[in-house]
């Protein structure tokens, strides 16, 4: 039996038609089925297969035809057409639960009441999306970097005008209403508010506050360039004003690299008016203007945390530049460490994933030792000037030069693993590392460090040498990676774990003094 039907102006895509004609061909009794558009050449094929019937006389290229050759004792044309329609109408179920809208605009429509947009798309596209968000009245947290300073200024001006937060570009850390954003630790809720222009610096202060038994109300990030002259501290000022008004905040902490003098003046002027205690760590910056403003300066990130806690408790905020452990214990650690080293093991290798933590190490150790770095204290200490491994090295492995084409070393430990292989050798005395855990970070950075240390020790065994490795963990017992577990992992690998980066750095300084490095 040969029969055909024609659907006027019916359109289905090629894939659908192909799948359906295959299905139809598999029906019992069907010898051949052609489904196609009624073009002259397709009709030629129908004729050629001797499947042409009168229905096809008036068909045009914009009509769909179904032509079939079948055994009419087994199947009817009506059944074939029904099967065709049934398959055409079979709709794919798309679940709305994991719906991912293609644009910011549709996301705003879809998630009713959204109040913050977190942006980590490539820099060249980020500014435009941030502007859309701000104009829609949403606060922005922008992890993306490579945004021009001109765009940053424009975005922050829009934000200030609308009373919104524009955290970033290049802002890695914030905790808003207790929710850690991007790279942040799970800390207790409390009465200390923080505005930070440096990501790991902010992380270090918040975890130490948590360990001291207090907590954070809000942690606002500004991005690293906020206190430059061009931006004028727009977001730090916006953040301070918000924390001053916030009834949940009793003490305010500010952390940043030293600001541009004109910006520092603005901030100090604002702080002068403050009716809440303000602790300021302009890492390595001048303390005089801070004191003059009635605020409290700091000697380290850890010190900032301790002072904030002291002020909150109504205690006196005193400089802390020592150790938690008693002096005898520290002295024993130092001499034990020194005794494991051979006479020609002299040099420091500080391999940091957190930029502010590396900065803190260089500023402290650089006072007594020439430290070569990619972020040197003075240009003559640039890593390139060392030209080999015969010197003290401290690196911020999160800088662009090391991360091009790969994730930040806090996300993927690979970069540091490689530096362990290339930069730790028989002349190395002490290795100093940070282990930053929390949201955003790698699932087990401590494990990666332990593995690298074990491999390095194995290599040095051939020379009959050992290594001293000192670490600190930036994290809390509530972080997904767990502070205690991370410390245990490091200690199992024979790594000395200090309670803060500042103490780790000081211990390394003591060891270097001891061995006459």
């Amino acid at each position: 039996m040969i029969q055909s039907i024609v659907r006027k102006n019916a359109y289905y895509d090629s894939v659908t038609l192909m799948l359906i004609s295959r299905e139809m061909k598999s029906i019992e009794g069907v010898e051949e089925v052609l489904v196609g558009m009624g073009t002259e050449l397709n009709l030629d094929l129908v004729r050629n297969l001797k499947m042409f019937d009168a229905n096809l006389e008036d068909v045009t290229p914009n009509d769909l035809f179904i032509a079939a050759k079948f055994n009419d004792e087994l199947v009817t044309m009506e059944q074939l057409v029904n099967s065709f329609d049934e398959q055409i109408n079979r709709k794919k179920e798309a679940s709305a639960g994991d719906y991912r809208p293609p644009t910011l605009r549709s996301a705003i429509d879809h998630l009713g009441g959204a109040n913050l947009v977190q942006i980590s798309i490539p820099g060249q596209y980020a500014a435009e999306e941030a502007e859309t968000a701000l104009k829609a009245g949403l606060h922005v947290m922008m992890f993306s970097d490579n945004v021009s300073i001109k765009d940053e200024l424009r975005l922050k001006q829009v934000a200030v005008e609308k009373g919104l937060l524009m955290m970033g570009p290049d802002c890695g850390t914030a905790i808003i209403n207790g929710v850690p954003l991007c790279f942040a630790n799970v800390v207790s809720k409390g009465r200390i508010g923080l505005v930070g222009a440096s990501g790991t610096g902010t992380q270090e202060i918040t975890v130490r506050i948590d360990q001291l038994g207090e907590g954070l109300s809000q942690v606002i990030g500004t991005g690293g360039r906020d206190l430059r002259e061009e931006i004028g501290g727009l977001m730090m000022i916006q953040g301070i004003e918000a924390l001053l008004k916030d009834p949940e905040t009793d003490v305010i902490v500010l952390v940043s690299k030293p600001p541009h003098p004109t910006v520092e003046k603005k901030i100090v002027d604002l702080v002068k008016q403050a009716d809440k205690p303000v602790v300021i760590d302009f890492i390595g910056g001048d303390a005089a203007s801070i004191i003059a403003a009635g605020a409290t300066p700091c000697v380290s990130l850890e010190d900032a945390a301790r002072k904030a806690v002291a002020l909150l408790r109504g205690e006196k905020a005193e400089d802390f530049d020592g150790f938690d452990a008693p002096e005898e214990e520290i002295e024993k650690l130092v001499s034990d460490a020194a005794s494991t080293l051979a006479a020609d093991q002299k040099y420091l290798r500080a391999l940091y994933t957190g930029g502010t933590l590396a900065d803190e190490a260089i500023k402290y150790l650089g006072e007594n030792y020439p430290i070569y770095s990619n972020i040197p204290l003075t240009p003559d200490r640039a890593l390139a000037n060392l030209g080999g491994l015969e010197g003290h090295i401290c690196l911020d492995l999160g800088e662009d030069e090391f991360t091009r084409g790969r994730p930040h070393p806090m996300i993927d430990p690979l970069t540091r693993t490689e530096f362990f292989k290339t930069h730790v050798d028989g002349s190395t005395a002490v290795v100093l590392v940070d282990v930053v855990i929390g949201y955003g970070s790698h699932e087990d950075p401590a494990g990666a460090v332990a593995e690298s240390v074990n491999a390095a020790r194995e290599r040095l065994l051939a020379e009959n040498k050992d290594l001293v490795v000192v670490a600190s963990v930036t994290g809390t017992d509530k972080d997904p990676q767990d502070l205690a577990q991370s410390i245990a992992t490091l200690e199992r690998a024979g790594i000395i774990v200090m309670p803060s980066n500042a103490q780790a750095v000081r211990l390394v300084g003591r060891i270097m003094d001891k061995i006459g490095a």
């Binding site: 991912r100 942006i119 435009e128 992890f143 209403n177 004003e241 918000a242 916030d246 996300i411 955003g440």
Partner: protein, 57 residues
């Protein structure tokens, strides 16, 4: 919505970019949505605004 009003609300986050940031928010039961963002294929912003300008909008 001012910053201080934000402090009183539950955070509702739209995430654009790294999916891991979205997953981490979800794992903390934060109300969040992920934008399936893609760079526009050879998009030219200038042209679109030209169209807007010519039509006086």
């Amino acid at each position: 919505m001012s910053v201080n009003e934000l402090f009183k609300q539950d955070l509702k986050v739209i995430n654009m970019g790294l999916e891991s940031f979205y997953e981490e928010l979800r794992s903390q039961d934060v109300d969040t949505i992920h934008v399936d963002w893609k760079p526009a294929a050879g998009g030219d912003k200038k042209m679109a605004s030209l169209l807007g300008r010519l039509k006086g909008l």
